[in-house]
């Protein structure tokens, strides 16, 4: 276990080093959530007048979504880095080493966690500039925690795709599923304000429950269990399912 942790940290460190060395990869994934936060809060702030918003600031309402999107980008980037390593042969170096197989996946996930924490911090700072303060200790920790959980989930998805496709060409598939999962959830308005097929899809979309939990923490400044536990369950289920999706090909890669 100690070895798995050491190797995971080493590989996470390498991924974060690449983020620093290749800013062109990182900056868009930082700017996009900020852009979504600013553009959405600016363009749609009027809809906060709807009774479903119960008088909440639309900027505060959007902060969890921007943090979640940032986490999604971090996860996708982990998959893309791994796909690049597979294509370029660097992954063969990792595979031919005695490093624990689990660490080859945990490393990139660890890097995604750090990146999502960084993006969440920047989103909170942007919220602060827009006069939305931090939602208290537990509220803040919950938003961070759920964003990081989403980063781990999307990492597992993107890594699973990368290990199967073994090519960066699979990047659009990694991205489109993550974007769709967020945009067909309660990303822009509460569940009650959604109508038609989108309402039905969002009810079944587990990201809805993650966002609701994060949003509840952001807006109330504390942990409201009735809103939080469905989010934790959804995140847990996604982690287990997509974790298996990511790990399975790793142990069969040489077949």
């Amino acid at each position: 276990m100690q070895r798995t942790l050491t190797v995971s940290l080493g590989l996470a460190g390498r991924n974060l080093l690449l983020v620093r060395r290749v800013p062109s990869v990182f900056i868009p994934s930082l700017v996009m959530p900020l852009f979504i936060l600013i553009a959405t809060a600016g363009a749609f702030r009027g809809i906060a007048a709807l009774p479903e918003f119960a008088g909440e600031s639309y900027l505060a309402f959007t902060i969890p979504m921007a943090a979640t999107m940032g986490a999604g980008f971090a996860g996708i980037n982990s998959g893309m880095t791994l796909a690049r390593d597979l294509e370029g042969g660097f992954f063969s170096r990792l595979q031919s080493s005695p490093a624990p197989r689990l660490a080859l996946v945990l490393g990139p996930i660890g890097a995604a966690l750090v990146r999502s924490a960084f993006t969440t911090t920047v989103v909170f700072i942007a919220g602060g500039i827009g006069s939305v303060g931090l939602p208290g200790l537990w509220g803040t920790l919950t938003v961070y925690g759920l964003a990081m959980a989403f980063a781990a989930i999307t990492s597992c998805w993107a890594i699973g795709v990368a290990l199967r496709a073994k090519s960066v060409q699979a990047a659009p598939l990694m991205q489109v599923v993550v974007f769709l999962s967020v945009f067909t959830s309660v990303a822009y308005v509460p569940q009650d304000a959604l109508t038609g097929w989108l309402s039905r899809v969002s009810e079944w979309n587990p990201v809805t429950y993650i966002l609701n939990a994060s949003r509840s923490a952001e807006l109330t400044g504390t942990i409201v269990w009735s809103e939080t536990w469905p989010g934790l369950v959804a995140a847990g289920i996604l982690l287990v399912v997509l974790g298996a999706f990511a790990l399975r090909p790793l142990f069969h890669l040489e077949r």
Binding site: T6, L17, R21, G89, Q95
Partner: protein, 337 residues
């Protein structure tokens, strides 16, 4: 079972039996390879592109599962005990798969982490290896700025981080200039002689196979078609060729007459008379004496062994493709043999 040269000591470093790798669609990249490499040996796999060299190496490095047959590396089965194999081997695959955004030192330290070295151990080993492969000055530069030769040397250093028992080098000098190629050969030789590391390398360069390996397996179409030391293999093909160039053109007929007593005539370069020397290299002195006795003034005498390309030709019916190395073209001068 393959015969092992007597100079090599104990257990087998690499052993395979009827190794097969079949891909979807029934294509057999490796089709029943059996070989044995003794500890401390430098074993080479020579063959054209697509012969099955890299696929064999990938199976031996646990990157690919054999479809049939078995293979053991450092005494461990590659399919059943892959983790133990990975602990024993160093691998430098084709195309030096090195992250261009990292520095040489960072990569060596990361490789140390992968092999379970302590933090201090990683640092120390990186320093030692950077010095060993002559990359101290470039250690903190990104690998993307390295030349092909530097990348290969770094790749070799990475494979040595944990002092492996068996080192696999897949076409280690492909694409390198002659100087970088010779530098790498020297390093491989040093590893083998000083540390006793068993080296298993693949190549498509005749000269590399000739210069570097103790024993050679010639692979074509997924099968080993010939195996032995380069000298043995060449000896199997036939006698060396002796080419004599008289000073005076009118002496060619007399030279031909003298040489006819030493072996059958073969086609030689313009201006020379060439025979297959039946007595081998040992017959050279007698030829010189006979020329002298016949009063033929000789400008040049060349004695050439059969090349590994001749060996490949004899085994497969065609020349080795893709040999781009600057191998000696004509017969080697007798004195340098």
């Amino acid at each position: 079972m393959v015969a092992i040269p007597s100079r090599v000591v104990t257990a087998l470093a690499v052993e395979t039996r009827d190794l097969v790798r079949e891909y979807k669609g029934g294509v057999r990249a490796v089709n029943g390879v059996s070989l044995a490499v003794a500890s401390g040996e430098v074993y080479g796999f020579l063959g054209p592109n697509g012969a099955g060299k890299s696929t064999t190496v990938r199976m031996l490095c646990t990157l690919l599962r054999p479809t049939a047959g078995w293979a053991k590396v450092a005494g461990h089965d590659v399919a059943r005990d892959a983790a133990a194999v990975r602990r024993s081997i160093g691998v430098a695959l084709q195309d030096a798969a090195i992250d261009p955004y990292m520095t040489g030192r960072e990569l060596l330290r990361l490789q140390g982490v992968l092999h379970g070295l302590s933090r201090q151990g990683c640092r120390d080993r990186a320093d030692v290896l950077l010095d060993r492969v002559g990359l101290v000055d470039a250690a903190d530069r990104r690998v993307g700025t390295y030349s092909g030769g530097m990348r290969r040397r770094l790749d070799l250093a990475l494979a040595l981080v944990h002092e492996p028992v068996v080192l696999f080098l897949d076409e280690p000098t492909t694409g390198l200039d002659p100087l970088s190629r010779v530098t790498l050969w020297d390093e491989v030789r040093r590893l083998n002689t000083e540390l006793g590391t068993t080296v298993f390398l693949t190549t498509q360069y005749l000269e590399e196979a000739d210069q570097l390996v103790d024993r050679l397996g010639i692979i074509d179409d997924g099968r080993i078609v010939a195996e032995g030391t380069p000298r043995e293999l060449k000896a199997q093909v036939g006698d060396p060729t002796l080419a004599v160039t008289p000073v005076r053109a009118e002496d060619r007929a007399r030279a031909r007459e003298v040489l006819s007593g030493f072996g059958p005539e073969v086609l030689g370069a313009h201006g020379c008379v060439a025979v297959r020397l039946a007595a081998g290299a040992e017959g050279l002195a007698a030829v010189v004496r006979a020329m002298d006795d016949a009063g033929v003034a000789v400008r040049e005498i060349d004695l050439a062994e059969p090349s590994l390309d001749d060996v490949f030709l004899a085994a497969t019916g065609r020349h080795l493709e893709g040999d781009e190395a600057p191998a000696p073209a004509g017969p080697a001068p007798a004195a340098s043999r």
